[in-house]
Subunit: 392 residues, 2 copies
């Protein structure tokens, strides 16, 4: 186990009707002028936005609103938010929505105190030292951004989609999480969220760091619970208990609970970012096609963790042939994603009939380097092979 620091100071307020507490929570964390950030449609239609504003107003908090954040959030919306923030001078940001909305707010939070362009932080040109505090009202369990110090944004000019990780600056002060708010999510969005969470767990799980038993067992436990709850929610979208388990799992899948003390592997996420940046597909659905291909490739080149996953989570009996068990595990996961989550299994089902693999692969290595050093060392030929497997 490697040395690590774990610092997760977010106050999670979880359960029915918790959104009524948002005003009180903002006050506790020093907010007086709050910029609310949201997407559109459902947050307004459901009356949630009004309930949140009422809760703030009752505490004497002044608000402004940035709306229209889209899935796969983009730099242009961040810049619009930064301009609004310069005018309004908020002391707190309150995203109401899912990962896209939260990640946009986090980008504004670090950009606000910086004289240059906020994108500098994402491409490593500069390091942020200050950020506006952020609180969250979560409506889509998926990205785990409510508990993480991460944000992912796409540059619309270059189509570079990449992340910034600043746990000390960007972990939200609080996250209000009411599973009832997720009960109206369409099946596609629910399933894509679950696929995203599972990828967050698996990318931590795939590690060559020895003796990380506690993290492995926690990861396996999360996967077992989420797969059981996913089957329930896909049958009955109004199953509160399943929604609640899934919502909390989405948070701990990405707040490092199961990855402490190990080198992680984030390259199936990186490979998917090229897909959703170019073709604007749903991130979790993109992961549902990439992750099984990634695991199948791993079953031939570094099978040990995939075989362990197969044995402990995916119901594959130990045959003594690690490579074959790993392959069976990857196939079992692929089948489960398709049969239970009704996720696509290849580019065509994802709605991309003629993907430009060469373009995505070139961009991937331009951004991440000639060889991706993770659970496996992947050069351009290796990642191209994985992308090609997604054609089938």
């Amino acid at each position: 186990m490697n040395n690590f620091t774990f610092y997760s100071p977010t106050e999670f307020v979880f359960g029915r009707e918790t959104e009524t507490q948002v005003g009180r929570l903002c006050i506790r964390y020093g907010a007086r002028r709050v910029m609310i950030v949201y997407g559109g449609g459902s947050v307004v239609r459901s009356g949630l936005l009004d309930r949140v504003k009422d809760s703030l107003t009752r505490e004497g908090i002044v608000c402004c609103e940035l709306s229209g954040v889209q899935p796969n959030p983009v730099d242009t919306k961040v810049r619009e938010g930064l301009a609004l923030a310069q005018e309004f001078q908020p002391d707190f940001l309150l995203p109401v929505g899912g990962g896209s909305v939260i990640d946009t707010a986090k980008a504004i939070a670090v950009g606000y105190y910086y004289e240059g362009d906020f994108w500098d932080f994402y491409i490593g040109k500069a390091k942020p030292h200050q950020a506006l505090p952020v609180g969250v009202v979560l409506t889509i369990p998926a990205a785990g951004s409510e508990g993480s110090g991460n944000t992912v944004i796409t540059d619309t000019r270059t189509k570079v989609k990449t992340g910034l990780r600043e746990p000390m600056l960007l972990r939200p002060r609080f996250a209000v999480m009411n599973p009832e708010l997720t009960m109206t999510l369409p099946a596609w969005q629910t399933a894509s969220g679950i696929s995203d969470m599972m990828a967050h767990i698996l990318e931590r799980y795939l590690s060559n760091t020895p003796d990380v038993q506690i993290g492995d067992r926690l990861a396996e436990g999360m996967l077992l619970a989420i797969m059981e709850m996913a089957a329930r929610v896909m049958k009955d979208p109004l199953d509160y208990e399943a929604r609640a388990n899934i919502m909390w799992c989405g948070t701990i899948a990405h707040n490092d609970t199961c990855s402490l003390g190990r080198k992680e592997d984030w390259f199936s996420h990186a490979m998917e970012h090229e897909v959703s940046a170019e073709y604007d597909v749903t991130h979790g659905a993109g992961l549902a096609v990439i992750v099984p291909a990634f695991l199948l490739y791993a079953s031939r080149h570094n099978p040990h963790k995939v075989a362990q996953l197969a044995h402990r989570v995916l119901g594959i009996a130990d045959s003594g042939d690690m490579e074959e068990d790993a392959r069976q595990g990857a196939l079992a996961l692929k089948a489960w994603l398709h049969d239970v989550l009704r996720m696509p299994v290849n580019f065509s089902q994802l709605g991309i009939q003629a993907p430009d693999l060469e373009l995505m692969n070139t961009r991937l290595h331009k951004l991440k380097g000639e060889v991706l050093h993770g659970y496996m060392d992947l050069d351009a030929a290796a990642t191209m092979e994985i992308y090609r497997m997604v054609m089938e």
Copy 2:
């Protein structure tokens, strides 16, 4: 799943040589005048105390010392600490040791700002609203106090041993956790610590709250990992990796990671507190005799969670007879505690030849009420039956 709030703002700094960072951490959390709290012997002999003091002095921090804290920490030492604190006027408390030392520091932390007797907080006569900040250098993984908002103290006059739980006030600001510091712990202390951690997990696990799958799976994962690592460390005390897994498991066993959204059951702890308060036995060893008896009793009166534990953690195949499987699970755990951890299995092995069961049972119900309402409803006859089972 019930509504919950989870707030764990402790900064955990984990791994080799991390104690060299303690001065810098104290400064980050605003310390200028630090009262160091410790037991005696090994912290001094090993040179750890000097290293900690050096680290503080390098940052210009002024220190005083409270030493001589004993296992099963007592009110008299807390009062000694409070008198020293009134004189020295610390702005930060730094326990260096295990649960007894940390719990003593937490008691001083709340007592410091209170005009009455600190014990009022423990018996519910008053509620604390302010506390000195606490940082921890952990040397004994067991109690989980480094990540919890709990403290347990014994009143030497009445022999009442009871706890205070104030997560918002008493979670430490930071916890420095170097597994190397635990490698010289004697087998008995190592095993007692592991027994304590397992009880912390099991007392959260035993719950009738439905649909807490994610917490159950995390708890089972922790138990599987800790049992694997315990077997290793009992064979080779210098196995750093096993020590590291155990140390981190001790923290998350008690920081609510696996108990969110459920009603917990803390009555095997309460039953043990009567044993260690009266006979001053090691808390974890006391739990090793109480917990299996508690589970055996549960296997007859409310077997469902014990059966699930048996199937998922203790290697008992599902026979279709829940009560019998639960019984087999309880016996398997008892055997494991004896065979692997070399813990006592009854009062006699614990060193108590003629325990006054009546006295302990009367005190238990005087403190906790006529009926203990937890995973089972336990009246005085029920807890007496459990105590009697420990005679065998």
